[in-house]
Symmetry: C2
Subunit: 200 residues, 2 copies
DNA sequence: AAGTTTTTTGAACACTGTTCAATTGGAGTC
DNA sequence: GACTCCAATTGAACAGTGTTCAAAAAACTT
């Protein structure tokens, strides 16, 4: 069936996502161009649009890949022997963002063209990442009921995220003080301590 | 001198920023178009580029306006009689973001074309906003030295910001639980309590 | 070899930010 | 009023974007 080379559809999909991630890492979300991705892998723009129906679809696939890599990174950090698993998570969060700044930012700064929410399959991948954190929060706070764990987890992720994004873009010039990572970790520790000693 | 109407240069500047903010509020940063702004105020695209040398320049002017309005909003909330000034700040932060979602997000999602930092005059305006918060942090923690106040302030702003952006984009689906505002306020209170009882 | 089906193409369209030679129209001078 | 002068204003032109889709190409089927 008219294949130009011996790429199956899913191989081609992976090829595009890989090259897309490479370009995203190089030029960032603003200058990212689907045309360029196609050109770089030696296919025409039309082929790319046959695989991913739209720019949103391509970007979603790229961000999904970044998210799974991020989850994997967190799990690795947790697997590395070390007592303080909460610290491992917070440091892992920052590490990945610092190592992949433009891809990481794209997760947050890409929005669907129609302004609507991301599709379910994508949100499931986000949920996986949250799940990794929630498991550790639950382990540290055994007396907390599941709903409260999820609620606190989201608040902690939000806290760390805020520090991380301010650190990457120095809009608020977080540099030149106790590293943002440590500030984030301090906030997380305080929140956990409060949850422990609070409504016990 | 060839004026088409009786707009002085700074009146024209304000006219563009106002219409730009209106369009930004309507369509968001992604679909924002300098051409459309020009068309809407009845000037050509060329005139707009004579006033603001680039898209970045226009966007910075728009964001600067948003920032000063935001600062004003916080000061108003602080001026409204009420004991808990920290809560007023946190609630004011969220209020403004929720009332001006697209303009607020643009502050964070616009980046200079060359990837560099924003010009000094712009950063000064950001500094003003931080200053409003820092003053309250200092008031609540009188024993803290100025450098520590600034450091803690940035951490607290980062914390609140993280909750706020997760609330606006429901990427992480913060809804359906204790409102994100209250979670953010809880984190801030814990941090302040820790700073009070910590290295005292 | 002929026919069928799937993949691939790239010109075409409507849009973007940006530039800059040409035009416009008010101010000053005679 | 006529005539410069010059800043303000214009908009076609350029290189780029995402998107579409009739046509071409390539592989599979009979």
């Amino acid at each position: 069936m008219g294949r130009r080379s011996d790429h199956t559809r899913s191989e081609l999909e992976a090829l595009i996502v890989d090259e897309g991630r490479r370009q995203l890492a190089e030029v960032g979300l603003t200058r990212f161009s689907a045309r360029d991705v196609a050109k770089r892998i030696g296919y025409s723009i039309g082929t790319l649009y046959n695989v991913f129906a739209s720019y949103d679809g391509l970007m979603l696939a790229i961000n999904a890949r970044t998210l799974t890599l991020w989850s994997a990174h967190l799990r690795e950090r947790l697997a590395a022997r070390g007592e303080d698993r909460i610290a491992a998570l917070v440091r892992g969060y920052f590490e990945f963002a610092v190592q992949n700044p433009r891809a990481w930012v794209a997760i947050y700064e890409h929005h669907m063209a129609d302004g609507g929410p991301a599709p379910d399959w994508y949100q499931a991948i986000v949920g996986e990442l949250i799940g990794v954190v929630a498991a550790e929060v639950a382990a540290v706070l055994p007396s907390l009921e599941p709903a409260a764990v999820l609620s606190l987890t989201r608040s902690l992720v939000a806290t760390v995220h805020g520090h991380c994004i301010f650190a990457l873009y120095r809009t608020f010039d977080m540099l030149g003080e106790t590293a943002p990572v440590e500030a984030a970790l301090a906030r997380v520790r305080e929140a956990i301590a409060a949850a422990r000693g609070g409504p016990a």
